[in-house]
């Protein structure tokens, strides 16, 4: 932009006017050519049967270069606009536009589409009104899933945050603090499916009399009891599944809470001690209120995660034995029953359920920003 201006000043008015049509043509043609090259490059690569590695490398180059070329050429187009006012109006969209477009196609559009589909039948052809919603709120299997989901939200969130807080305060400034924290944080690196497979082995059940391959039952039998069907006995099997997520999320909660605790000024704690507070009072009256915003953030993050959880249930019990949750039910509707209407309905309900949490989160965030 700057360069254009300075070069303009060296040209006479006449020359500049004469250049205008040329510049506009150029600035329209360049983006068009860029787009065409990208399109045909993509088509060529798709059709090509060359070595896959070569294709990947070339595609990466075209992809990254293409993004640059697109930004450059559209910017060129805006720069050639005649009035500054139009430039100011349009230029932001040149840079934000692609991101907005991606956001729209991958987030906003699917939401609208899901909401739309939720009013249609399983094949998305006949309008059925609120039938799917009536199903979602009256079907006994759905009620079971809803109750389980609520249990997941309450139990997993409170225990993960509770344990995280407890560990954070207990390992505070002990000698092997870093090692202990790393070990507890490590499950975070395991995928939900991977963790579920691990825990299925831990919970594995073989009828009495034969060798137990599950760790828990091995211990139970060794102690002289009958083996337990951890994943079958209702309603306790639900808690066995929750244990997996708690195991995964405690480390996450611990790391964030621990750094928040470290951020509490030492002087405030000392001041409270001198004021007469014992360790428990310091913890509940000084540390907890001071790190409250972190606790809220961690809690809501885990809360939303539990709403979305389906993989653990899917892998370990497949939703059988009364362990269905709303999200796994949604996957079941779409993958097994091919009922797009009901699946979309559940998706919409899940989305609506997260809105209050998100709203509270954003509100809290703004409040803490203001007090800074």
């Amino acid at each position: 932009m700057l360069k254009n201006n300075t070069s303009n000043s060296t040209l006479s008015l006449l020359e500049r006017v004469a250049l205008v049509p040329f510049r506009i043509t150029a600035s329209v043609i360049v983006p068009v050519i860029t787009l065409l090259i990208l399109y045909y490059g993509f088509m060529f690569l798709r059709a090509s049967d060359a070595n896959k590695l070569v294709i990947v490398v070339v595609a990466l180059m075209i992809g990254i270069g293409g993004v640059w070329a697109l930004y450059y050429s559209t910017n060129l187009f805006v720069e050639s606009l005649l009035s500054d006012r139009w430039k100011m109006l349009i230029r932001p969209f040149v840079f934000v536009g692609p991101a907005l477009a991606v956001l729209f196609f991958y987030l906003v559009f699917p939401v609208i589409r899901s909401a739309y589909l939720s009013f249609f039948d399983r094949t998305s052809t006949n309008f059925v009104g609120f039938d799917n919603y009536i199903f979602a709120f009256t079907d006994p299997a759905m009620s079971q899933a809803a109750i389980n989901s609520i249990l997941w939200m309450i139990i997993v969130t409170s225990l993960s945050v509770g344990f995280g807080l407890l560990i954070a305060i207990l390992v505070e400034s002990i000698r092997y603090e870093k090692l202990v924290k790393s070990l507890i944080f490590m499950p975070m690196a395991i995928s939900f499916v991977g963790a579920s497979v691990i825990w299925r082995f831990i919970y594995a059940f073989v009828p009495a009399g034969r060798d137990q391959i599950g760790m828990l039952n091995a211990v139970v039998v060794w102690l002289g009891f009958e083996p337990v069907g951890w994943l079958i006995n209702q309603p306790w099997n639900n808690f066995m599944l929750m244990v997996v997520l708690i195991w995964l999320q405690t480390g996450f909660a611990m790391v964030l809470l621990s750094s928040a605790i470290k951020g509490v000024p030492q002087e405030i704690i000392e001041s409270a001690q001198i004021d007469g507070a014992n360790d428990v009072q310091v913890f509940f009256r000084i540390i907890i209120p001071t790190i409250r915003s972190t606790i809220v953030t961690v809690s809501t993050t885990i809360l939303i995660l539990t709403l979305k959880i389906f993989d653990i249930v899917w892998v370990m019990t497949n939703g059988n034995y009364g362990t269905e949750v709303v999200a796994s039910r949604m996957i079941k509707e779409i993958a097994r029953f091919r009922d797009f209407g009901r699946a979309s309905t559940i998706a919409v309900i899940l989305l609506l359920a997260t809105i209050p949490i998100m709203y509270y989160n954003v509100k809290r965030f703004r409040e803490t920003e203001e007090t800074r």
């Binding site: 000392e270 001198i274 004021d275 209120p289 409250r292």
Partner: protein, 366 residues
């Protein structure tokens, strides 16, 4: 209201750093004790050991007659004002002040009376509903004081409470603290690196350096009879002048000879030196700027100095003089007619001459 007794207090950190060496101080009831010294001298560590925030490595600490070495801070019945005030950010001013009382399960009515009384003393009545972040530095400082006052503690501990205030407010608060000490009639222990604060507020001052106590004395003694060269240089502003000198005996009196001049001694100091057999030794000669008398208009002979710089401070003028061995400062009447480049006659007031051992830096004329 309490007396404290610090006996051979030491602090050695786990990394081997010996921060405090054998501190012995007996603090009487209702004293205003100031621990003063340059940063890193261990004064805050001593205070934190008294508070119970820091373990005592060896030695004994008594509050009244009780050995409190292993007593947690909450049971020591002390109050502390921190440098950054350490107010609880999530509590209102009222809750900040009453926190300690609530923990002591005092009745609500009693708490209210106490807080209101303290708020009145400190002028915080209008601010009780606010949060600390809505207050200015000076106001926060008073809240921190209020939090200490309502507790009626045995001992007040203050860790550089004025250092975050601007200069004007600091002078004002200094006077308020002295007044508060008189009204409350409680033992105050105050840490600062500012010798002015120490001199103006303390009834007794403990001068520390590198973890050692160098002198414990009231302000006058500290100023008139510093125990060693460090104390002499630390107390007083501008600081005491030091010159290398040699003692010579002439007709039975000892003269302090330094480059370009000499100082004479009062008869009693004379006797002290003679008895200590110090004649003919090398010493460090110390004299405060206010104890140098300057007469303009002389240009030859001994004790004639050249004026290198003049600093007019309004009520007084600091002259940077040189007799040949480097500059020293004299504080004179601003009416005195001297200009840069003038030659002046210098007289060192006999009673105010300080002499220090070259090796040990200890004062020779105690």
């Amino acid at each position: 209201m309490a007396s404290l007794d610090l006996i051979n207090i030491n602090k050695v950190y786990p990394n081997g750093f010996h921060a405090v060496h054998d501190v012995n101080v007996k603090i009487e009831d209702k004293e205003f004790i100031v621990l003063v010294g340059p940063s890193g001298c261990g004064k805050s560590t001593v205070l934190r050991m008294i508070a119970g925030l820091e373990d005592i490595s060896s030695g004994e600490l008594y509050i009244d007659e009780d050995l409190v070495n292993d007593m947690p801070p909450k049971d020591r019945d002390i109050a502390m004002v921190f440098q950054n005030y350490a107010l609880y950010p999530h509590m209102s001013i009222y809750d900040n002040i009453s926190f300690g009382l609530k923990l002591r399960k005092m009745s609500k009515q009693q708490i209210k009376e106490k807080v209101e009384e303290a708020a009145k003393i400190l002028g915080l009545e209008e601010l009780l509903d606010r949060k600390p972040r809505q207050l200015s530095g000076g106001q926060r400082q008073r809240v921190a004081l209020g939090r200490a006052i309502v507790r009626d503690p045995k001992v007040f501990l203050m860790d550089e409470p004025l250092s975050n205030l601007d200069a004007k407010l600091r002078v004002q608060t200094r006077a308020e603290l002295s007044k508060l000490h008189q009204n409350l009639a409680t033992t105050f222990i105050y840490v600062t690196h500012d010798q002015t604060e120490a001199m103006t507020m303390g009834t007794r001052i403990v001068v520390l350096k590198d973890g050692y106590v160098h002198q414990v004395a009231d302000p006058e003694t500290l100023y008139d009879k510093p125990a060693n060269q460090f104390v002499a240089s630390f107390i007083g502003s501008p600081q005491m002048n030091f010159m290398d000198a040699h003692l010579e005996e002439e007709n039975g009196t000892v003269k302090v000879k330094c480059e370009g001049g000499y100082a004479q001694l009062s008869p009693e100091k004379n006797n002290v030196l003679k008895q200590a057999n110090y004649a003919k030794k090398d010493v460090v000669f110390g004299i405060r700027p206010e104890h140098i008398q300057v007469t303009p208009g002389e240009s030859s002979g001994e004790n004639v100095a050249k004026v290198e710089v003049t600093e007019l401070l309004g009520s007084e003028t600091n002259l940077f003089l040189n007799m040949g061995s480097g500059p020293f400062i004299a504080r004179v009447d601003p009416e005195l007619d001297v200009k840069v480049g003038d030659q002046v006659k210098v007289h060192f007031v006999e009673e105010k001459v300080h002499l220090f051992d070259v090796e040990t830096e200890e004062a020779l004329l105690k």
